[in-house]
Structures are given as structure tokens and as C-alpha cells.
């Protein structure tokens, strides 16, 4: 596994925007003084006439995006997850969500893998915030291939979409040639029957690693990747609950309000008997440190997923 190619999904975002932009003149990009970090700078270089920097003013940026969408353009508004989903939450709700405007929010630097910047910049609440807005699609791709496909799907989807990308380079786990993406659909990356590991974002690669570890101990773990946090692929989740009876959800997000709770709600409402453990950031803030160290420290790792799965069984 050591020679696996690693790409940060924010880089995939920038590359996908350039590719889509070439084909679609109605695609415009907004940024809030972070183009170098969000990677919309790549788009700016290719299409300077339709990359609009809004300065450090995320609330206005979301409103500007709403106005542009009302004029028929397809704006991708970018900032760090903390500021796009957090600071501008009410603008996203009232100026984008409520009028169902065709705005795409490209949020990079989600989760604690932001690393050294520390808690102020480590957004672990964006799924919770964005999921709660009626009609909002919430996507969190796991790797380069999925990220590019998600950006394309977001462009093609009519209505608001929130996309969460990461700062950290992560393994490419999908084969581009055979890959098909659909909003609202999850995918089974590995079959298994004792426990299902349902993961999103960079945790999907960790879940695959955990499944290897568990296999070595004779435990058959299914790995499901859910890029589409909302809408949730309830069918796939319930099937896993029914067939495996044990689920570990894995997300680089607070255990409150994210993928884990969405999965729990689906299972509980279906009345299925299934034990669930949510692996994510517990009710606490992050802190500064190298991303890899933080992920290990906060239990966002293959080791911890495997440990939690065994505890569940």
C-alpha cells in the first residue's frame, strides 16, 4: 500500500472546476481570499474573467453567489468549511437553501486534518449544519476520483449542493475507468458479513485498512463508502444493518449530527436490530498538530475502527 498515489481532494476540486469550466461558460467561481488553498486558483488561472474574489467576506460571498444563480449562472463558492458552512450558515440557509438557488458550495479544509491551524479552523460541524437545510445535497468524497465525479454531479444537479473536501493528501482508492457516481447512492467497496464499516471522506481509506486488519483476525467486514451524506442511501444502509447486524460509522466529523447519526436514524426508524458504534470526533474541539498525528490521536484511524468493530462484536 505504500506506493499508493495520494491526492488531496481540494486539488481534485480545482482540477474538476477547470475541466467543467472549459465546457460550461455559465460556471463561475467565487472565493474569499483563499484561492491558493481552496485550489480555485487553478480555475482563476484558466478563466480569470469568471473567477471573482470576494475578499474575506464569506457572508457576502454566499449572497453574491445566490444573486448570480438567480441570473442563471452556476456559481461554485469556495472557502474553508468552517467559514462556508459555519460563518455563512444563515446566508446559505436563507439566500441559497430557502429559494432553492443553484449554488454549489465548495468547502475545503473540512475536519481536523486541517492540522496545524488548530481548532478555530477545524470544522467538524459542517455535515450537521448543512444536512439540516431542506433540499441541500451534502457530499464528502473519499478520494481524487470520487471528488472529481462529485463536482461534475454537483454541476449537473439543479439546486444547492454542499461539497466537503480535505486539505490532506489521501490515497486514491477508486479506479477511474470503472467508476460511476450518483448523488444519493453509496457503494460497497468490500463485501463482508460480520460487521459493516460505513465511511465517508478520508475515513473510507481507513475503513478499508480496518477491514484488512479484521480479516487477519477472521472477522468479515463489509466496507461501504457514502460520499452522499444527504440524500443518504438508506437502502444500502438498511441492507448492511440487516445482513451484518453490526455497524461502525466512520467520519471526520463530530459524532453529533453527521453520518453516524443519519445512519442510526435510518436503522432505528426501520426498526432493525443492529448495534452501532459511531467513530468520529467526540464532543470536543481539535487542536494544533500534524494531520496524521491528529487523526491517530482522535481515533480517526484504521486501528481504532478495527478496535471499535471488535468491541461491538
Amino acid at each position: 500500500m505504500s506506493d499508493v498515489k495520494k491526492i488531496a481532494t481540494r486539488d481534485s476540486y480545482g482540477a474538476a472546476l477547470v475541466e467543467l469550466g472549459a465546457a460550461h461558460p455559465d460556471l463561475v467561481v467565487l472565493d474569499a481570499d483563499l484561492a491558493a488553498a481552496t485550489k480555485t486558483g487553478v480555475f482563476k488561472k484558466a478563466f480569470p474573467e469568471r473567477h471573482f474574489d470576494c475578499g474575506i467576506a464569506e457572508q457576502n460571498m454566499i449572497g453574491v453567489a445566490a444573486g448570480m444563480a438567480a441570473m442563471g449562472l452556476v456559481p461554485f463558492a469556495s472557502s474553508f468549511a468552517m467559514f462556508a458552512a459555519g460563518r455563512a450558515f444563515e446566508q446559505v440557509r436563507n439566500s441559497v437553501g430557502y429559494p432553492r438557488l443553484n449554488v454549489k458550495i465548495g468547502a475545503t479544509h473540512g475536519g481536523i486534518s486541517v492540522g496545524e491551524d488548530g481548532a478555530s479552523h477545524q470544522c467538524c460541524e459542517d455535515f450537521a449544519l448543512m444536512r439540516s437545510i431542506p433540499g441541500m445535497v451534502v457530499l464528502c468524497p473519499s478520494d481524487d476520483v470520487e471528488a472529481k465525479a462529485a463536482v461534475k454531479a454537483a454541476y449537473e444537479h439543479e439546486g444547492p449542493v454542499y461539497l466537503r473536501f480535505g486539505r490532506l493528501a489521501v490515497p486514491v482508492i477508486h479506479d477511474e475507468a470503472n467508476y460511476k457516481f450518483e448523488i444519493g447512492k453509496g457503494e460497497t467497496l468490500r463485501e463482508g458479513s460480520d460487521v459493516a464499516l460505513i465511511a465517508t471522506g478520508l475515513m473510507t481509506a481507513e475503513a478499508l485498512g480496518a477491514a484488512e486488519q479484521l480479516a487477519a483476525e477472521g472477522i468479515s467486514a463489509r466496507v461501504i463508502n457514502l460520499c452522499s451524506i444527504k440524500p443518504l442511501d438508506t437502502e444500502l444502509v438498511l441492507k448492511a444493518a440487516a445482513e451484518c447486524g453490526h455497524i461502525v460509522t466512520c467520519e471526520e466529523h463530530s459524532v453529533i449530527g453527521g453520518l453516524g447519526e443519519a445512519v442510526c436514524a435510518a436503522i432505528a426508524e426501520a426498526g432493525l436490530a443492529c448495534k452501532v458504534k459511531r467513530v468520529g470526533v467526540n464532543d470536543e474541539f481539535g487542536h494544533s498538530g500534524p494531520a496524521a498525528e491528529l487523526l491517530a490521536q482522535f481515533g480517526l484511524s484504521a486501528d481504532n475502527i478495527a478496535r471499535q468493530a471488535k468491541a461491538l462484536l
Binding site: 463561475v28 474573467e49 469568471r50 471573482f52 470576494c54 475578499g55 467576506a57 457572508q59 457576502n60 460571498m61 454566499i62 449572497g63 453574491v64 453567489a65 445566490a66 444573486g67 448570480m68 444563480a69 438567480a70 441570473m71 442563471g72 449562472l73 456559481p75 444563515e90 446566508q91 436563507n94 439566500s95 430557502y98 429559494p99 432553492r100
Partner: protein, 273 residues
């Protein structure tokens, strides 16, 4: 004359709703009348016409005023005005672009409409569309920080197709704007932010006409028209009364207000004959 009918629509809508915001709707009634009957390039038969001018009611609580103007202009039947705020009515308490013909942006949360207007104006420039974007803000609304983020954006991108109007009626929910949180001096602030600033009496059509003409002629800079108005204008007992910001007239008050506006209408008709 038309403005008196817009005001009657405001009273009819808020009376029918038993709620809503008559004060700021009445202060803006003359401006809304001017915009919808003279200034803006619009087509009530085709509310989604792509090249129309856009209007954003950033002070979304003045929805009764906007609805009254739109109905009078023919976007939807005036007889629907009393359904304002009723369950299942398309006339929501604050403007909804997806339900009300003629509403160009959903607003209500203060400070947000101006950003959308900036986005529309910037999009029009990118699209090469020759249209203008108008946004009406309240004076209390200027306390929202987003207003100034948007003002910076408008000047930075030289949005000379954008015209803001500020309804300075001097009152907000907790009292006089100058006492709650004074945003003055407005002329200096907007000038410092890079705007072409004009100050008018918001109840003078002659002054509004001249200001909009000057704004249209202005190049490279966004415009703001600081419009001084009387909150509750046209209904004697509502004028300059903070209590009428968000309260509906009861039956007796409605009858008195309508009688005053009928008299105003009659005066206009007499002058015209």
C-alpha cells in the same frame, strides 16, 4: 395617485393578515410606485423575462408594500392581497421568489438582499446584459455587517448597474435608529465606500426621478439614493409611530386609514380633471 393605491394595498394586506409591517411599507410606497410604474424595465405578463431589471427588497419585512405595487402593476390579482401571511397563501410574510410573480429574490433576513443584488449586477456584467439592479434597504438594516461587505464588493467591481436605495424612516423596532445604534453619517460612509451618493425626499417623485436619472448616467461607480421618508406615511395615526413597524390595523383603524387614502386619491383625481 398610484402611490395612494399602493398604500391602500398595504393596509388591505396587513389588515387581512392581522399582522405584517405597514410602517416601513408606507414609507417606501412612493419609491416602490416609482420603480414599478416608471423606472424599471419589466413585463408583468412575463415575470421571468431574462433581460428585465431586477429589484431586491433587502428590507424584506416591507413585503406588503412590494406586494401592493406588484399587484397594482398587474403581476397578480389585487384581490389576493388580503391573503398575506395566511396558511397556504403564496403571499408569504417575507418575499419568496418561488411563489410570488415579480419577486426577484427571496429576502427577509436583513443584510442579505444587498449581497444577492450585487451578485445579480456582477452576473449581468459577465453575461453582457444591459439591465439594472435595484435594492431597497432600511436604515436600521445598515447595522448589519454584511451590508458593508456587499458595499465593498459593489464598488470594487464597479457595479454601475447597481442602485441601492436606503429608506431612512428613522425608526426601528427598539426605537429611533439614531438611538438604537446610529449608522450616521450615511453620506460620508457610502462615499468612503466608493458610491455615487444622492440624498432625496423619498416622497417627492420629482426628486426620485432626477436621482434615478443621475444614477443611470453614472459610470464606474455603484449608486446609492439616501431617501428620507416618514414611517407610516399617508396614514395620519401611523406616521412616525414606532409601534406601527410590525402591527396590523384593526377594523376601525383600517376603515379610518382607507378613508384618508380615499380622500388623497380624490384630491389627485380632482387635480387631474
Amino acid at each position: 395617485m398610484l402611490a395612494a393605491r399602493v398604500r391602500m394595498g398595504v393596509l388591505t394586506a396587513t389588515h387581512g393578515a392581522k399582522a405584517g409591517h405597514p410602517g416601513g411599507s408606507l414609507s417606501a410606497a412612493d419609491l416602490l410606485t416609482w420603480l414599478y410604474f416608471s423606472e424599471m424595465k419589466i413585463d408583468p405578463a412575463n415575470p421571468h423575462w431574462a433581460d428585465r431589471d431586477r429589484f431586491v427588497l433587502s428590507k424584506g419585512h416591507s413585503a406588503p408594500g412590494l406586494y401592493a405595487a406588484l399587484a397594482l402593476r398587474g403581476f397578480f390579482p389585487e384581490s389576493d392581497l388580503p391573503t398575506l401571511r395566511h396558511t397556504d397563501s403564496y403571499l408569504q410574510g417575507h418575499p419568496n421568489m418561488n411563489t410570488v410573480p415579480g419577486v426577484d429574490m427571496s429576502t427577509g433576513s436583513l443584510g442579505q438582499g444587498i449581497s444577492a443584488a450585487c451578485g445579480m449586477a456582477k452576473a449581468a456584467k459577465y453575461q453582457g446584459k444591459d439591465l439594472r439592479v435595484y435594492a431597497l434597504l432600511g436604515d436600521g438594516e445598515l447595522q448589519e455587517g454584511e451590508v458593508w461587505e456587499a458595499a465593498m464588493f459593489a464598488a470594487h467591481y464597479k457595479l454601475d448597474n447597481l442602485c441601492l436605495i436606503v429608506d431612512n424612516n428613522g425608526l426601528q423596532i427598539d426605537g429611533p435608529v439614531s438611538q438604537v445604534m446610529n449608522p450616521a453619517p450615511l453620506e460620508d460612509k457610502f462615499r468612503a465606500f466608493g458610491f455615487f451618493v444622492q440624498t432625496v425626499d423619498g416622497h417627492s417623485f420629482a426628486q426620485l426621478e432626477a436621482a434615478f436619472a443621475a444614477a443611470r448616467a453614472e459610470k464606474e461607480r455603484p449608486s446609492v439614493i439616501l431617501m428620507y421618508t416618514t414611517k407610516g406615511k399617508g396614514v395620519s395615526f401611523m406616521e412616525n409611530q414606532v409601534g406601527w413597524h410590525g402591527k396590523a390595523p384593526n377594523d376601525a383603524e383600517y376603515a379610518q386609514g382607507m378613508a384618508e387614502l380615499q380622500a388623497e386619491l380624490a384630491r389627485w383625481e380632482a387635480v387631474q380633471e
